[in-house]
């Protein structure tokens, strides 16, 4: 009778991945959407390789934000459609496991989208990073987690509102502003190689810790809000 949070989290992730695999159309649409976003952005801003390094950070993260919100909007859709959340709430399983399972599932999905979009950006902007690549990887991971953890939480809140899909960005964007500032400046700093991005990475790590804890503590309250 093991009801440990970690084990249940992985069970939730496995279930989500299996469900995702069974109905692949959603995934395919999202991949295509991400592709379109990159194309449109690159189309609208087409500078030389030298200049592009300065603002590509902002562009990339805006594009990622679009895709993240798309992905998060449907993150609870399956649970809603089948009304399964009630069955989960009635069971003795801790809701935090459900939340983290969802977060990790969304995190993997968004990472997948980013891995698709990044090479395209590199292609369209002839990008080459002057700073170290490993820093970029860390920034992407931390930044994505920061967006996904809050996004999953607010998506759960949006379930109980009238304009579901609209509510999520309205809630997520103001709270994420500091993280986005950090992500963008960090990415720009690494690409241009002018400043060190280490302080931003520490900041992002702190942001992730604070908000992951807040989500962990408040999720059950929000899930059971009638």
């Amino acid at each position: 009778m093991s009801l440990s949070v970690t084990r249940l989290t992985w069970i939730n992730v496995a279930k989500d991945l299996r469900l995702e695999w069974r109905s692949r159309d959603v995934l395919n649409s999202m991949l295509f959407f991400s592709l379109l976003v990159v194309v449109i952005f690159s189309f609208s801003f087409s500078p030389t390789a030298e200049e592009s390094r300065r603002f590509v950070g902002g562009l990339v993260w805006t594009a990622f934000l679009f895709s993240t919100i798309m992905a998060l909007n449907q993150s609870w859709a399956r649970e809603l459609r089948n009304g399964v959340l009630d069955a989960y709430r009635v069971s003795p399983a801790p809701p935090e496991a459900l939340f983290f399972g969802k977060c990790i599932g969304n995190f993997l999905l968004v990472l997948l989208l980013e891995c698709l979009m990044s090479p395209l950006f590199v292609l369209f902007y002839n990008l080459r990073s002057i700073g170290p690549y490993w820093q970029l990887a860390v920034i992407f991971l931390l930044g994505t987690w920061a967006l996904v953890v809050n996004g999953t939480f607010f998506a759960a809140m949006s379930i109980r509102t009238r304009n579901r899909e609209l509510m999520l960005p309205l809630l997520l964007l103001p709270i994420s502003i500091p993280a986005v500032v950090a992500m963008v400046t960090a990415t720009t700093d690494v690409l241009t190689g002018e400043l060190s991005a280490v302080s931003q990475m520490k900041f992002l790590a702190g942001y992730c810790v604070i908000f992951t804890t807040a989500c962990f503590l408040l999720f059950e309250t929000v899930l059971n809000a009638e």
Partner: protein
């Protein structure tokens, strides 16, 4: 033994004490607050005042002892019957297939069926939902309109199972607004109207 005292917008000042091992039917016209009361016992709605004790425990701690079957099947359409049960069973700490196979047999479903639940008939879905409510051998069963929109064969299977559970000493609380099959199975009825407890007593034959 469960004891409730609760009040929400839909249910007003209901105070109930239920004996273990008996089969109760919760009746009333539409909108009387039956489903809301059941949901409060299941822990899905919070009463604005009062508290609920199940076998002396608060709802949160008693979840392992409860089985809930809602009006909607609450299952993943994209998974098969066994896959659904396996997932939910793990939420209750059950990691082997044995109790699941057992539960499916008792509701009259084939455990080896690989068809996705989305393709089941309504009756099969209700039966699977019931299987989920019993696979952890709960002492208290809460059911919300289990017979609605269900074919006669499934209805019979469900009724037989409920009778069996009643005999083995489980407490059953069932919400419905028709009686039909239950006239013979149930011990007591509880009547709600406009959110208030109006009447309760032993089930008599021919009670409409």
């Amino acid at each position: 033994m469960s004891k409730i005292y609760g009040r929400t917008a839909a249910v007003r000042k209901v105070s109930l004490a239920l004996q273990p091992g008996r089969f109760y039917v919760l009746r009333g016209e539409n909108g009387a607050g039956k489903s809301t009361l059941l949901r409060m016992i299941a822990g899905l709605n919070e009463p604005t005042e009062g508290n609920i004790l199940i076998y002396g425990l608060k709802t949160r701690d008693a979840r392992q002892q409860m089985g809930y079957m809602a009006h909607a099947p609450l299952l993943y359409d994209e998974l098969s019957g066994m896959e659904n049960l396996r997932f939910f069973a793990q939420l209750y700490g059950i990691n082997s297939d044995q109790p699941l196979v057992e539960a499916m047999r008792r509701v009259g479903l084939d455990p080896k069926l690989t068809r996705r639940v989305g393709q089941y008939s309504q009756g099969m879905r209700q039966r699977l939902s019931l299987a989920r409510a019993i696979f952890h051998s709960p002492r208290l069963l809460l059911l919300d309109e289990p017979f609605s929109n269900v074919d006669p064969e499934s209805a019979l299977a469900i009724a037989k199972l409920l009778a069996a559970m009643r005999s083995s000493g489980n407490t059953i609380l069932l919400v419905t607004h028709q009686i039909g099959l239950l006239a013979e199975l149930a011990d007591e009825f509880i009547l709600l109207s406009h959110g208030q407890l109006v009447d309760r007593g032993a089930m008599k034959q021919g009670h409409a």
